[in-house]
Amino acid sequence: MRGGTEMNEQLKQLKEAFDSTYFHKVQLSKDRKKQIKRIVREKIAFSYEADVVEEVLLAIKNKALSGFDILKALRLSDRNRFENSEGELYAYLHYLEQERMLIGHWIDVDGSKSKYYSLSTKGIKYLNKLQKVTKSKQVLFNRLEGERT
Protein backbone atom coordinates (compact mmCIF):
# COMPACT_ATOMS: atom_id res chain seq x y z
CA MET A 1 0.00 0.00 0.00
CA ARG A 2 2.60 2.57 0.99
CA GLY A 3 6.32 2.64 0.20
CA GLY A 4 9.01 3.51 2.76
CA THR A 5 9.18 7.19 1.80
CA GLU A 6 5.42 7.51 1.91
CA MET A 7 5.50 6.00 5.38
CA ASN A 8 8.00 8.71 6.37
CA GLU A 9 5.66 11.39 5.06
CA GLN A 10 2.82 9.86 6.99
CA LEU A 11 4.84 9.69 10.21
CA LYS A 12 5.90 13.31 9.90
CA GLN A 13 2.35 14.11 10.86
CA LEU A 14 2.70 12.19 14.08
CA LYS A 15 3.02 15.33 16.20
CA GLU A 16 -0.20 16.74 14.86
CA ALA A 17 -1.86 13.35 15.13
CA PHE A 18 -0.90 12.84 18.78
CA ASP A 19 -1.57 16.44 19.80
CA SER A 20 -5.09 16.35 18.40
CA THR A 21 -5.93 12.95 19.91
CA TYR A 22 -4.22 11.34 22.90
CA PHE A 23 -2.45 14.47 24.06
CA HIS A 24 -5.50 16.66 23.85
CA LYS A 25 -5.91 16.61 27.61
CA VAL A 26 -2.42 15.53 28.65
CA GLN A 27 -1.25 18.69 30.35
CA LEU A 28 -1.03 19.89 33.91
CA SER A 29 -3.61 22.23 35.31
CA LYS A 30 -2.21 25.25 37.16
CA ASP A 31 -3.24 23.80 40.49
CA ARG A 32 -1.76 20.41 39.75
CA LYS A 33 1.51 22.02 38.71
CA LYS A 34 1.63 23.98 41.94
CA GLN A 35 0.91 20.84 43.90
CA ILE A 36 3.65 18.92 42.09
CA LYS A 37 6.13 21.71 42.80
CA ARG A 38 5.28 21.58 46.48
CA ILE A 39 5.48 17.79 46.76
CA VAL A 40 8.75 17.63 44.81
CA ARG A 41 10.33 20.28 47.03
CA GLU A 42 9.22 18.45 50.15
CA LYS A 43 10.55 15.14 48.91
CA ILE A 44 13.86 16.72 47.93
CA ALA A 45 14.19 18.44 51.30
CA PHE A 46 13.53 15.13 52.98
CA SER A 47 16.36 13.48 51.10
CA TYR A 48 19.00 15.85 52.53
CA GLU A 49 20.55 14.84 55.82
CA ALA A 50 20.30 17.44 58.54
CA ASP A 51 23.74 16.77 60.01
CA VAL A 52 25.40 17.19 56.61
CA VAL A 53 23.54 20.47 56.15
CA GLU A 54 24.77 21.52 59.58
CA GLU A 55 28.38 20.73 58.72
CA VAL A 56 28.21 22.59 55.43
CA LEU A 57 26.69 25.68 57.03
CA LEU A 58 29.17 25.50 59.87
CA ALA A 59 32.11 25.35 57.46
CA ILE A 60 31.16 28.71 55.92
CA LYS A 61 30.02 30.36 59.14
CA ASN A 62 33.05 32.62 59.51
CA LYS A 63 34.25 33.09 55.96
CA ALA A 64 33.13 32.46 52.40
CA LEU A 65 34.55 29.27 50.89
CA SER A 66 34.56 27.69 47.47
CA GLY A 67 32.90 24.33 46.92
CA PHE A 68 36.30 22.70 46.87
CA ASP A 69 37.29 24.35 50.19
CA ILE A 70 34.06 23.13 51.77
CA LEU A 71 34.81 19.65 50.51
CA LYS A 72 38.26 19.82 52.12
CA ALA A 73 36.76 21.11 55.38
CA LEU A 74 34.24 18.25 55.46
CA ARG A 75 36.96 15.73 54.72
CA LEU A 76 38.92 16.99 57.70
CA SER A 77 35.98 16.20 59.94
CA ASP A 78 35.86 12.54 60.87
CA ARG A 79 32.83 11.64 58.75
CA ASN A 80 34.43 11.76 55.30
CA ARG A 81 30.95 12.06 53.95
CA PHE A 82 31.64 12.93 50.32
CA GLU A 83 34.70 10.80 49.76
CA ASN A 84 33.52 9.26 46.52
CA SER A 85 30.65 11.52 45.67
CA GLU A 86 31.85 15.11 45.37
CA GLY A 87 28.95 15.79 43.02
CA GLU A 88 26.56 15.19 45.86
CA LEU A 89 28.08 18.06 47.82
CA TYR A 90 27.21 20.37 44.93
CA ALA A 91 23.66 19.08 45.10
CA TYR A 92 23.60 20.17 48.74
CA LEU A 93 25.11 23.56 47.93
CA HIS A 94 22.68 24.09 45.11
CA TYR A 95 19.77 23.09 47.27
CA LEU A 96 20.84 25.37 50.13
CA GLU A 97 21.32 28.23 47.70
CA GLN A 98 17.85 27.68 46.28
CA GLU A 99 16.49 27.75 49.81
CA ARG A 100 18.43 31.01 50.35
CA MET A 101 20.37 29.54 53.28
CA LEU A 102 23.59 30.56 51.62
CA ILE A 103 24.64 33.05 49.01
CA GLY A 104 26.93 32.22 46.12
CA HIS A 105 29.26 34.79 44.57
CA TRP A 106 31.43 34.30 41.53
CA ILE A 107 34.94 35.55 42.31
CA ASP A 108 37.86 35.93 39.92
CA VAL A 109 40.88 34.08 41.31
CA ASP A 110 44.00 34.28 39.15
CA GLY A 111 41.98 34.69 36.00
CA SER A 112 39.54 31.84 36.56
CA LYS A 113 36.13 32.21 38.10
CA SER A 114 35.22 30.32 41.25
CA LYS A 115 32.03 30.31 43.18
CA TYR A 116 32.27 31.23 46.86
CA TYR A 117 29.56 30.58 49.37
CA SER A 118 28.66 32.53 52.49
CA LEU A 119 25.86 32.25 55.03
CA SER A 120 22.72 34.35 54.62
CA THR A 121 20.78 35.67 57.61
CA LYS A 122 18.30 32.86 57.07
CA GLY A 123 21.20 30.43 57.01
CA ILE A 124 22.59 31.74 60.31
CA LYS A 125 19.20 31.35 61.98
CA TYR A 126 18.79 27.86 60.57
CA LEU A 127 22.27 26.83 61.68
CA ASN A 128 21.54 28.03 65.22
CA LYS A 129 18.36 26.00 65.22
CA LEU A 130 20.15 22.90 63.94
CA GLN A 131 22.87 23.28 66.55
CA LYS A 132 20.31 23.57 69.32
CA VAL A 133 18.66 20.35 68.17
CA THR A 134 22.01 18.60 67.95
CA LYS A 135 22.92 19.85 71.41
CA SER A 136 19.68 18.63 72.99
CA LYS A 137 20.16 15.29 71.24
CA GLN A 138 23.65 15.16 72.71
CA VAL A 139 22.34 15.96 76.19
CA LEU A 140 19.70 13.26 75.85
CA PHE A 141 22.29 10.84 74.56
CA ASN A 142 24.66 11.59 77.44
CA ARG A 143 21.86 11.14 79.93
CA LEU A 144 20.95 7.76 78.42
CA GLU A 145 24.59 6.75 78.46
CA GLY A 146 24.82 7.89 82.06
CA GLU A 147 21.78 5.87 83.03
CA ARG A 148 23.24 2.79 81.47
CA THR A 149 26.48 2.93 83.48
Binding site: Y22, V26, Q27, K33, I44, S85, G87, Y90, H94
Partner: protein, 183 residues
Protein backbone atom coordinates in the same frame (compact mmCIF):
# COMPACT_ATOMS: atom_id res chain seq x y z
CA UNK B 1 40.47 25.34 38.94
CA UNK B 2 40.11 21.78 40.18
CA UNK B 3 38.17 19.35 38.02
CA UNK B 4 35.50 18.83 40.63
CA UNK B 5 35.13 22.56 41.01
CA UNK B 6 34.60 22.99 37.27
CA UNK B 7 31.95 20.35 37.34
CA UNK B 8 30.26 21.99 40.29
CA UNK B 9 30.25 25.34 38.55
CA UNK B 10 28.84 23.69 35.47
CA UNK B 11 26.03 22.10 37.38
CA UNK B 12 25.13 25.48 38.77
CA UNK B 13 24.97 27.03 35.32
CA UNK B 14 22.81 24.27 33.92
CA UNK B 15 20.43 23.37 36.66
CA UNK B 16 17.99 26.01 37.56
CA UNK B 17 15.67 25.88 40.47
CA UNK B 18 13.39 22.88 40.57
CA UNK B 19 10.43 25.20 39.99
CA UNK B 20 12.03 26.41 36.80
CA UNK B 21 12.67 22.87 35.60
CA UNK B 22 9.05 21.99 36.29
CA UNK B 23 7.84 25.07 34.39
CA UNK B 24 10.09 24.36 31.43
CA UNK B 25 9.77 20.64 30.96
CA UNK B 26 6.73 19.22 32.72
CA UNK B 27 4.45 19.25 29.67
CA UNK B 28 6.99 17.58 27.37
CA UNK B 29 7.84 15.02 30.03
CA UNK B 30 4.20 14.34 30.78
CA UNK B 31 3.50 13.52 27.12
CA UNK B 32 6.57 11.31 26.90
CA UNK B 33 5.53 9.44 30.04
CA UNK B 34 1.97 9.13 28.79
CA UNK B 35 3.25 7.47 25.62
CA UNK B 36 4.58 4.69 27.87
CA UNK B 37 1.88 4.30 30.50
CA UNK B 38 -1.27 5.39 28.60
CA UNK B 39 -2.86 6.89 31.68
CA UNK B 40 -2.89 10.52 32.72
CA UNK B 41 -3.06 10.11 36.48
CA UNK B 42 -0.22 7.56 36.48
CA UNK B 43 1.78 9.83 34.20
CA UNK B 44 1.42 12.73 36.65
CA UNK B 45 2.61 10.61 39.57
CA UNK B 46 5.60 9.40 37.61
CA UNK B 47 6.38 12.95 36.52
CA UNK B 48 6.69 13.94 40.15
CA UNK B 49 9.13 11.11 40.79
CA UNK B 50 11.23 12.12 37.77
CA UNK B 51 11.84 15.58 39.24
CA UNK B 52 12.72 14.17 42.64
CA UNK B 53 15.07 11.67 41.03
CA UNK B 54 16.74 14.29 38.87
CA UNK B 55 17.86 16.08 42.00
CA UNK B 56 19.08 12.91 43.64
CA UNK B 57 21.08 11.97 40.56
CA UNK B 58 22.61 15.38 40.16
CA UNK B 59 26.05 13.95 40.91
CA UNK B 60 25.83 11.75 37.82
CA UNK B 61 25.07 14.67 35.56
CA UNK B 62 28.30 15.22 33.69
CA UNK B 63 27.15 17.78 31.19
CA UNK B 64 27.84 15.86 27.98
CA UNK B 65 24.08 15.63 27.56
CA UNK B 66 21.82 18.62 27.68
CA UNK B 67 19.43 18.95 30.53
CA UNK B 68 16.32 17.98 28.58
CA UNK B 69 17.91 14.81 27.18
CA UNK B 70 19.03 13.97 30.69
CA UNK B 71 15.54 14.45 32.10
CA UNK B 72 14.10 12.32 29.30
CA UNK B 73 16.51 9.57 30.14
CA UNK B 74 15.46 9.59 33.78
CA UNK B 75 11.80 9.59 32.71
CA UNK B 76 12.25 6.66 30.33
CA UNK B 77 13.90 4.59 33.07
CA UNK B 78 11.19 5.56 35.51
CA UNK B 79 8.48 4.43 33.06
CA UNK B 80 10.20 1.12 32.37
CA UNK B 81 10.65 0.40 36.08
CA UNK B 82 7.01 1.17 36.58
CA UNK B 83 5.86 -1.08 33.74
CA UNK B 84 8.04 -3.90 35.05
CA UNK B 85 6.60 -3.68 38.55
CA UNK B 86 4.54 -6.55 39.85
CA UNK B 87 1.42 -4.48 40.40
CA UNK B 88 1.28 -3.22 36.83
CA UNK B 89 1.89 -6.60 35.30
CA UNK B 90 -0.97 -8.02 37.28
CA UNK B 91 -3.33 -5.25 36.15
CA UNK B 92 -2.31 -5.69 32.51
CA UNK B 93 -2.89 -9.42 32.67
CA UNK B 94 -6.32 -8.69 34.06
CA UNK B 95 -7.10 -6.40 31.13
CA UNK B 96 -5.98 -9.00 28.62
CA UNK B 97 -8.24 -11.53 30.28
CA UNK B 98 -11.16 -9.13 30.05
CA UNK B 99 -10.49 -8.57 26.37
CA UNK B 100 -10.47 -12.32 25.87
CA UNK B 101 -13.75 -12.80 27.71
CA UNK B 102 -15.51 -9.93 25.99
CA UNK B 103 -14.56 -10.77 22.43
CA UNK B 104 -17.94 -9.54 21.16
CA UNK B 105 -17.29 -6.12 22.58
CA UNK B 106 -14.09 -5.95 20.59
CA UNK B 107 -16.11 -6.02 17.38
CA UNK B 108 -17.87 -2.89 18.48
CA UNK B 109 -14.48 -1.30 18.87
CA UNK B 110 -13.53 -2.31 15.33
CA UNK B 111 -16.59 -0.53 14.00
CA UNK B 112 -15.56 2.72 15.57
CA UNK B 113 -12.03 2.21 14.30
CA UNK B 114 -13.44 2.44 10.77
CA UNK B 115 -14.92 5.82 11.55
CA UNK B 116 -11.61 7.24 12.73
CA UNK B 117 -10.05 10.15 10.91
CA UNK B 118 -6.67 9.71 9.28
CA UNK B 119 -4.90 11.40 12.19
CA UNK B 120 -6.67 9.25 14.72
CA UNK B 121 -5.65 6.12 12.84
CA UNK B 122 -2.02 7.18 12.74
CA UNK B 123 -1.99 8.05 16.45
CA UNK B 124 -3.70 4.78 17.30
CA UNK B 125 -1.38 2.65 15.16
CA UNK B 126 1.73 4.16 16.73
CA UNK B 127 0.37 4.10 20.27
CA UNK B 128 -0.39 0.37 20.02
CA UNK B 129 3.07 -0.60 18.71
CA UNK B 130 5.23 -2.72 21.01
CA UNK B 131 7.11 -0.43 23.39
CA UNK B 132 10.62 -0.90 21.96
CA UNK B 133 9.47 0.36 18.54
CA UNK B 134 6.98 2.91 19.82
CA UNK B 135 9.51 4.76 21.96
CA UNK B 136 11.86 5.20 19.02
CA UNK B 137 9.16 6.24 16.57
CA UNK B 138 7.97 8.71 19.19
CA UNK B 139 11.37 10.27 19.88
CA UNK B 140 12.27 10.38 16.19
CA UNK B 141 9.05 11.65 14.64
CA UNK B 142 7.31 13.44 17.49
CA UNK B 143 10.34 14.95 19.21
CA UNK B 144 12.65 15.19 16.19
CA UNK B 145 15.55 13.64 18.06
CA UNK B 146 18.52 12.24 16.14
CA UNK B 147 19.60 8.59 16.28
CA UNK B 148 22.51 9.55 18.57
CA UNK B 149 20.26 11.47 20.95
CA UNK B 150 17.75 8.63 21.05
CA UNK B 151 20.52 6.19 21.83
CA UNK B 152 21.49 8.38 24.80
CA UNK B 153 17.94 8.71 26.06
CA UNK B 154 17.02 5.04 25.97
CA UNK B 155 20.56 3.73 26.65
CA UNK B 156 20.66 1.52 23.55
CA UNK B 157 23.46 1.64 20.97
CA UNK B 158 22.87 3.71 17.81
CA UNK B 159 22.84 0.75 15.41
CA UNK B 160 20.12 -0.96 17.40
CA UNK B 161 18.15 2.30 17.38
CA UNK B 162 18.47 2.40 13.57
CA UNK B 163 17.35 -1.20 13.17
CA UNK B 164 14.38 -0.71 15.47
CA UNK B 165 13.38 2.51 13.73
CA UNK B 166 13.33 0.68 10.40
CA UNK B 167 11.42 -2.27 11.84
CA UNK B 168 9.03 0.11 13.61
CA UNK B 169 8.18 1.81 10.33
CA UNK B 170 7.57 -1.59 8.73
CA UNK B 171 5.22 -2.51 11.56
CA UNK B 172 3.28 0.73 11.12
CA UNK B 173 2.96 -0.03 7.42
CA UNK B 174 1.83 -3.61 8.07
CA UNK B 175 -0.77 -2.41 10.54
CA UNK B 176 -2.12 0.05 7.97
CA UNK B 177 -2.35 -2.75 5.45
CA UNK B 178 -4.13 -5.01 7.91
CA UNK B 179 -6.68 -2.35 8.76
CA UNK B 180 -7.30 -1.61 5.09
CA UNK B 181 -7.78 -5.29 4.35
CA UNK B 182 -10.31 -5.64 7.14
CA UNK B 183 -12.19 -2.62 5.88
Amino acid sequence: MQAEEVRGAFIHEQIHSIDELIDLYSDDLLRLIFSYVHNKATAEDLLQEVFVKCYKQISFFRGEANIKTWLYRIAVNQCKDYLKSWHVRKVMLHEKWNQFVHKSRENELEKTVLQLTEKEVLANVVMTLPMKYREIIYLFFYEDYSITEISEIISVNPNTVKTRLKRGKELVKLEYERRNRDE
